[in-house]
């Protein structure tokens, strides 16, 4: 399990160009964000131009990984060891972050222009930059300190972004999120404190070698687990998520649901695989909660009247799929085949969901923006007037439903296969129920949109490209289903 996270020594040293690419990947979003705060872009074109180097850095890193396999960086500053690694998984996640981040950034100018967001809009850019940089850092970092820094940076910036709309519900929800996120990271920190106190080091690779099962590891795992579960909105600690998304700006919600909560989950899995490699029950607790999450989130989304709540609640359920896979990834006596399947399925599901959810938020945002209504009933007749937005929503929801040929389907296929091999029938049932529930709420929304009988008022025209950006993301999620082989191959690569 440890090697899957790339916690071993690399064969090659990174080249100079790789260094630069790394620097660009980590720093450029931040810099560009600050820059954009000064000259807030009104059109998508400058944003597109500016994001080219960011994407380029990701591609360079990908190429570097393909050439040299695992890459590591280590620095020591004032007695503090900082280390980064670049393996297949982190390259993938990094690219995903960059693509979704760039898409959100491209989407933003149009959105801001149309929705008259007020003076706070300027702040969006730097916060976005911070979030993206911090996310990139989280995928790469291999010591607990860096992870903590990145986590906090990301959390604070995310809270800031989410509250920019300045409405009262947004502030109430944001305040709750802020406090919970801070407390969550303090809980995480407490866990880190135990680790540091007992083993005296923070680098994951070293810890992976020295840690052995014992009370300290368990307590640390429990604390870290609880803290990160809170931040990752895992059931039953998810309740802050929906109100936050409901009132936030669309690109922000997209970024947040697609990436930010995933970062905490990523850390959780990574740290638990170090701390609890052989535990039986803890992953199962998560899995059981995951089953509940699938049902609960599905029901929430099904019964809601608000489009954004629907999208946000579906995140809860989708996280449930990931949680259900925990016992296949962690724990004793898992055969290599189901573990490999579950591992691939887990990340494919995560990526598919990230792209699809971002696309879905954008599509939902487009619909709300165009109709001026945020309820499902307000969508009546949109199938005629806003077919593209609806199509994007549809393609994205195919991924969420896990219907072929989307990434969600392929991921579900692999997870199901792993579960069947390990005879976890409850998880199978949960996964299948999840499909049906997802279909139920997605098509409830479509049912409203296909209604032709309702009277129709004027629609606000959308900025060019807003739908196309969402469509691109949705199609990526879609294509990941059939073209899953390459990314999954990448995750295999670099194994010792």
């Amino acid at each position: 399990m440890i090697w899957r996270f790339g916690l071993f020594d690399s064969t090659f040293e990174p080249l100079a160009s790789t260094h630069w690419a790394l620097l660009a990947a980590l720093g450029l979003p931040l810099l560009l964000g600050l820059f954009a705060a000064l000259f807030s872009p009104k059109r998508a074109l400058p944003v597109a131009l500016a994001s080219l180097p960011v994407l380029a850095s990701g591609v360079v890193l990908l190429a570097a990984f393909e050439q040299a396999g695992l890459l590591r960086w280590q620095w020591e500053i004032a007695g503090i060891h900082l280390s980064l690694r670049l393996n297949g998984l982190s390259v993938l996640l990094l690219l995903m972050t960059q693509v979704i981040g760039v898409a959100a950034a491209l989407y933003t100018p149009g959105y801001l222009r149309l929705s008259e967001t007020g003076p706070l809009a300027r702040w969006l850019w730097p916060l976005m930059g911070v979030v993206l940089s911090a996310l990139s850092l989280i995928w790469l970092a291999t010591d607990l300190l860096t992870l903590y820094i990145a986590l906090e940076l990301m959390g604070l910036a995310a809270v800031g972004m989410l509250m920019l709309s300045g409405k009262v519900p947004a502030i109430v929800a944001g305040m709750r999120y802020l406090l919970l996120a801070l407390v969550g990271s303090l809980t995480y920190l407490l866990g880190v404190a135990l680790i540091l106190g007992h083993w005296g080091r923070l680098d994951l690779q070293g810890l992976a070698e020295v840690i052995e099962p014992g009370p300290v590891a368990w307590f640390a795992a429990a604390l870290i687990g609880a803290g990160l579960a809170l931040k990752a909105a895992l059931f039953p600690l998810h309740a802050w998520l929906t109100p936050v998304h409901e009132n936030a700006w669309t690109p922000v919600s997209a970024l947040h649901a697609a990436l930010v909560i995933k970062a905490s989950l990523f850390m959780l899995l990574q740290l638990w695989s170090i701390l609890l490699p052989e535990t039986f029950y803890a992953p199962r607790v998560i899995a059981w909660l995951g089953m509940l999450a699938i049902v609960w989130g599905g029901l929430l989304a099904w019964r809601t009247d608000s489009l954004k709540t629907l999208v946000a609640s579906s995140t809860v359920a989708q996280l449930g799929y990931l949680m259900v896979a925990f016992p296949l990834l962690l724990g004793p006596d898992i055969a290599p085949l189901p573990r490999a399947l579950a591992w691939e399925g887990f990340w494919l599901q995560l990526m598919g969901h990230a792209f699809a959810k971002a696309a879905m938020f954008m599509a939902a945002g487009n619909l709300i923006l165009a109709t001026g209504e945020s309820t499902l009933k307000g969508l009546a007749g949109t199938s005629r007037r806003l077919p593209l937005s609806l199509l994007v929503f549809g393609i994205a929801s195919i991924t969420l439903m896990g219907l072929p040929p989307s990434a969600g389907f392929t991921a579900k296929w692999m997870l199901l296969q792993a579960m069947i091999i390990t005879q976890q029938w409850w998880a199978v049932a949960a996964l299948l129920t999840g499909t049906l529930l997802t279909a139920a709420y997605v098509f409830r929304m479509f049912r409203y949109s296909f209604d032709e009988t309702a009277p129709r008022h004027r629609y606000q025209p959308l900025a060019p490209g807003m739908d196309m950006i969402a469509l691109t993301l949705a199609l990526i999620a879609f294509a990941l289903g059939l073209l899953a082989h390459y990314p999954l191959e990448l995750m295999h690569g670099g194994s010792p």
Partner: protein, 590 residues
């Protein structure tokens, strides 16, 4: 050359139908003639084909594989069928002249009816021709079905209530019959893995359940042939159908059922199994029962055509009995069948002319009445076997039976002929009662006269194998002729006896009313059951909806737990941490 003729025989009626349709759309109604020369010629190529000699065709592309043949059986069959169709067509031209005039005067209803008839007549004919030449199951079934369903238009022509009832009875029984035939064919062909009628015959002979297959097929064809029990459509449909339609219905199409039997039953085969012979006996009894029962019932009918219909049933009963002999006493069959064919052919034309005669008696030409009635009676007398072809055909079936010593059957058949004679005389009497003035068209009586002549002279033109039919020797004449006077006598006595009844008669269609009663009685519980199911369904829908509502209520209430979760998130986080820690410790300490 033969092939060309065959193609013509089959395509010509189709072309005629197409032309009729085209004509109907192209010509204005006022100038439209429905019974043109072309229409009359629909059957001529088929008639020509019958005399062109024997031939055999195999067409692989045709349906399941076409096997068509003109052999010693199908040639005479085709000949008399085609002839009757041709004559009936002529007759129809005259018969419908008045209606056509009405149509040209702008009566839309008449236009519609005539068009329908003119269109479906050639199609019915086509089916009839096809089934005669077909030697493979699919073609045969196709011909049979085409004829059956297209003839619906012939029966329903007038559109009156009685016509609709008759047509309904016809159609219902036809559907039942088609189902039985299909089942029988499937069974027999499936067992024998064959696609030809020859194969079916052989299959039935050797199959374990051969008698059941035979029974299915016989009942299926029996609907057409008016086997007792399934005959009820005949007396209902015939009186209401136009005279030419009745003529072909009773003359040609009814024989299709007979041909079906001959085609599928392993008649005259040496290795007839015990059950099959048993079945033959049953069939024999059924045939005789029909022969006598129909005669008894028929004499009490009012409508001359209904009487004639019962006469047909009676005659077909006799033929059924003769066919059954092919199973009961196979050795007699090779000698018997030419006689049977002759019998059928003669009956076809005689019955045809009798039916045409009904139209003559309704529109009497300005001839002396005795002459007319003499002419009307001629085919009937012949049918009873007293003169002409009737006598020859009777001898044709009698002599082989004599040879093989089946005297009892001969006796029974003779008594059946008494019934025939009685029926014919009653029919003539009824015609006399219901005669009408009003001239007939030349086509009408011309066709009728030709039919009478053809009926009387059947053995002369029927292309039977040479030497298979001979005139009865003089000493046997008495034995053949006696039923006729006896029958007339019986009829007269019967009339005298039933005079006190004051013209009260039994309804046509006898068992139909029983069936209708039984079926409608059976439908009551079925309908009740259906209603019950419907109620059950709506009740369950209501219950399901209620359950869904309740469930939704529960879910909504459950989901309000979301805000509880929201307010206790931090507490839950603490719980989770403590729980995880406790769990991990517990597991670790175990």
């Amino acid at each position: 050359m033969m092939t060309l003729l065959l193609a013509l025989a089959l395509l010509w009626p189709l072309g005629v139908a197409g032309y009729t349709l085209w004509n109907a759309y192209r010509r204005p109604a006022t100038q439209r003639g429905y019974f043109s020369l072309l229409w009359l010629s629909a059957v001529w190529p088929a008639l020509l084909l019958a005399y062109a000699g024997e031939a055999h065709w195999t067409i692989n592309a045709w349906m399941l594989g076409g096997e068509w043949e003109l052999n010693s059986l199908s040639r005479p069959w085709l000949a008399f069928t085609a002839l009757l169709w041709g004559l009936a067509a002529f007759h129809a031209k005259g018969y419908f002249a008045a209606e056509q005039a009405k149509a040209q005067a702008g009566d839309q209803d008449a236009q519609r009816r005539l068009l329908r008839l003119a269109l479906l007549w050639p199609l019915t004919l086509l089916g009839n021709v096809l089934l005669i030449i077909a030697q493979d199951i699919a073609s045969f079934y196709l011909g049979f079905a085409l004829m059956t369903f297209a003839a619906y238009a012939l029966v329903v022509h007038s559109g009156s209530d009685e016509a609709r009832l008759g047509a309904k009875a016809y159609l219902i029984l036809a559907v039942v019959g088609e189902g039985l035939i299909l089942g029988g064919f499937l069974w027999a062909a499936g067992e024998a893995d064959t696609l030809t009628l020859q194969g079916v015959r052989e299959g039935i002979l050797v199959a374990e359940h051969g008698s059941w297959m035979a029974a299915l097929l016989c009942l299926g064809f029996g609907v057409k042939a008016g086997v007792i029990g399934l005959h009820v459509w005949l007396p209902l449909a015939h009186p209401v159908a136009p005279a030419p339609a009745s003529a072909v219905l009773s003359g040609a199409m009814i024989k299709a059922g007979l041909l079906g039997w001959i085609s599928v039953l392993p008649l005259g085969s040496e290795q007839v199994s015990e059950p099959l012979a048993q079945f033959g006996n049953t069939m024999l009894i059924a045939g005789l029962a029909a022969a006598f029962g129909a005669a008894l019932y028929g004499v009490f009918q009012r409508h001359p055509k209904a009487v004639l219909a019962y006469s047909s049933i009676s005659q077909m009963g006799m033929m059924t009995a003769l066919v059954a002999m092919g199973l009961v006493a196979p050795e007699v069959w090779p000698l018997l069948w030419p006689g049977l064919v002759l019998f059928a052919a003669h009956h076809a034309l005689a019955k045809g002319s009798l039916f045409m005669g009904t139209s003559i008696s309704e529109h009497l030409p300005r001839w002396p009445l005795p002459l007319i009635w003499a002419l009307l009676a001629l085919p009937g007398i012949s049918l009873a076997g007293a003169i002409g072809a009737g006598m020859v055909s009777k001898w044709g079936v009698k002599s082989p039976l004599y040879e093989m010593h089946h005297e009892s059957l001969i006796k029974l058949l003779s008594w059946a002929a008494v019934g025939t004679a009685a029926l014919v005389s009653v029919a003539l009497w009824r015609q006399w009662q219901q005669r009408h003035k009003g001239g007939s068209n030349p086509e009408q009586w011309g066709a009728w006269l030709v039919a009478i002549v053809a009926a009387l002279l059947t053995p002369l033109w029927l292309p039977l194998p040479a030497g298979s039919i001979e005139m009865p020797p003089m000493k046997e004449w008495l034995g053949i002729v006696w039923p006729f006077p006896v029958g007339v006598l019986f009829a007269a006595i019967g009339w005298l006896l039933t005079r006190p009844l004051k013209g009260k008669t039994l309804p046509a269609g006898d068992l139909w009313w029983l069936y209708a009663g039984v079926v409608s009685a059976m439908l009551v519980p079925i309908q009740a059951f259906g209603h019950g199911c419907g109620r059950l369904k709506s009740a369950s829908v209501v219950t399901a909806q209620k359950a869904e509502e309740t469930l939704m209520g529960h879910i909504t209430r459950l989901l309000s737990g979301e805000s509880w979760l929201r307010h206790h998130t931090s507490g839950l986080m603490m719980v989770l941490a403590v729980l995880l820690a406790a769990l991990l410790m517990w597991e670790g300490q175990r």
